[in-house]
Symmetry: C2
């Protein structure tokens, strides 16, 4: 064994200068660029378009097709649709199948950016079509971020279809998929013990898109809000239970109950800005939260507050040893960050093992342009 020690050699001498400064390591040698990831955009609503726009602007992605059922955009050139001055020769296709006949046969598509609906029972047929064509998929579908609890049977079926077609399906996004689940999970790396996790995201609902404002019930009466939440007409934030379960199951917290709740925040005075007007006594926003319980004790809690004229921030608190509190005083710009998470996770999805996975199963995500 001793002779093994002669294997090694010191191969860099560190030179100190008189200013206590050291220059370390060899200069950067650019690696050969990998092939671009060829992608299809599936779903071109506001979020789908943002993702598409961000991907088209980058040198490491290449658009090969786009799908949306909306008749008002079917047939339009993507270049025009994302506000570019010139056409790029790719029109919106109303259906996947004619599109893939032309491009999948050449086995050139690596990834689908999927952005349609929030609930997995709505999106499963779309995923089955995409996976059956051998396409890797990263999706904004909120309940896909951790599908095993709300939809155990669907999750099982999708995993089987993905595996038998040797491709990968992952749900991602800023929330669920990053801020209130993946980031708290990652921050526990510095903890020897974790007894509780709380994560809060606070956004100013006035600064968000119209469909988002509608989703959280702005300007409804309190009674209307409650009624529409109860009947499912109003979704508010979707994916609270998914974030809580992703945290609880990943960290081995043995949750025995997860509860979601949506409470209206009522305006005590009128709010008026360029973007939105709220009357006093009407819904100014929502406090949506998910709680993970073990033996009737709350061990995970995530809060998503979207309230007109409130301060934007995020805070993640890990109770344990040592305890940790991280805070983002700026708040995360929701839409552009969502597109970023989808693009950056998408690169991981292409390299991942086949099957239905979560963001925790992928190798450490991060931005890169290469």
């Amino acid at each position: 064994m001793g002779s093994l020690r002669t294997f090694y050699q010191v191969d860099t001498v560190i030179t100190m200068t008189k200013t206590n400064t050291t220059s370390v390591g060899s200069p950067y040698i650019p690696s050969r660029r990998k092939d671009k990831i060829k992608f299809i955009s599936f779903g071109l609503g506001p979020v789908g378009l943002l993702i598409l726009q961000a991907a088209v602007a980058r040198s490491d992605f290449e658009l090969v097709g786009a799908v949306d059922v909306n008749p008002s955009i079917v047939g339009q050139d993507i270049g025009r649709l994302i506000g570019n001055n010139r056409e790029i020769g790719i029109p919106v296709s109303p259906d996947l199948l004619p599109l893939i006949d032309g491009i999948i046969s050449q086995n050139q598509v690596g990834l689908v950016f999927h952005a349609t609906q929030s609930f997995l029972d709505q999106t499963t047929p779309q995923f089955i079509d995409l996976l059956s064509c051998g396409l890797n998929v990263v999706s904004t579908c909120e309940t896909l971020a951790y599908p095993y609890r709300r939809y155990p049977n669907l999750a099982d079926q999708l995993d089987q279809v993905a595996k038998s077609n040797r491709c990968t399906l992952v749900g991602a996004g800023i929330n669920p998929g990053f801020l209130l689940d993946l980031l708290p999970i990652f921050l526990t790396t510095a903890c020897q013990e974790v007894t509780g996790i709380q994560a809060v995201r606070n956004i100013d609902a006035a600064k968000r898109r119209g469909p988002f404002q509608k989703k959280v019930g702005l300007n409804l009466s309190p009674e209307n809000f409650t009624q529409q939440i109860e009947t499912g007409q109003l979704s508010a934030h979707v994916g609270l239970a998914e974030s809580v379960y992703l945290i609880g199951d990943t960290l081995g917290m043995n949750l025995d109950q997860v509860v979601e709740e949506h409470r209206p925040v009522i305006a005590d005075c009128a709010y008026s800005s360029a973007e939105v007007e709220i009357e006093a006594g009407r819904v100014r926003g929502v406090n949506s939260f998910g709680r993970g319980l073990r033996n009737q004790q709350e061990v995970v809690r995530i809060d998503f507050n979207a309230v007109v004229s409130s301060q934007e921030y995020e805070e993640i608190k890990i109770e344990g040893y040592p305890p940790v509190i991280w805070r983002n005083e700026l708040g995360t710009a929701g839409d552009s960050a969502t597109a970023a998470v989808i693009l950056n996770m998408g690169k991981r999805v292409v390299a991942a093992q086949p099957g239905l996975l979560t963001a925790v199963d992928l190798s450490l995500p991060h931005f890169t342009r290469t």
Copy 2:
């Protein structure tokens, strides 16, 4: 293709209550416990002992051996060494080889916690011994956190030895290995573009261990500090260049120069506390920083400040789109967090592919007790 759509079924009905509350998902079914990870502690200085202590306290690790060359502890029972009331039947061995003759043959060891020296040319013979025995290793060796630049040849040799013995070697720790590199890298997941990264860690040197205080030169004269840094007698913080390169290379920032610098912080008055006394005009602490340059522009900068009586915090700033600033106002408790990172990364190392890897190559690290 259309018939595939009949595959799916909705398998959970969400029931709303009158309080806007929903209980989601099926109750937790505990999975069968996996086997404990059997480990050897290699190096029982202050940090090695902390790691050992933390691992012994957990139900998911099992100590099978311990190695240290220090004659004052060789032969001592580990139970006594970590301050327990009873012996546990495992004495400190002065060498790896007699130890592994007894235990490796049964192929029962999954992991080595390695905590000896800071520079890879010092630790390489130890790693070659460990890897040659087929042992997975996670180490606090600072320059192992990203060894490819300072020690390209050693890195290549260690990778070959690890691969040919089908085991994995990773450098980790709170810093380098987490706070000033892995965490900033992970936070870029929410960015479409990254143009610069700055990370600062500020610690109160008065609250740290004696060896640490010595390492940063407390109470030296400014002249002595500079001289001892220049001759290498004083290391200050090790691994700045490793953090900068880990960030720059991972994010594809094409750094063409990385510079390390250590500046003494001089006491303008006397500091006196239970832990430490500093005379006016003497070294109160150090500002160590690493800078990553591209075309003479600083695109990565990490600062590690260890100064007596200064506020503890960390701050990570990502310049890009969207920009991000995260701050930990508490500061991270260095020693207990180091042990945590080593334990939590260690679990990932056991499952990883063979070779010399970095924390970025592992799947998302996190705390778990299962």
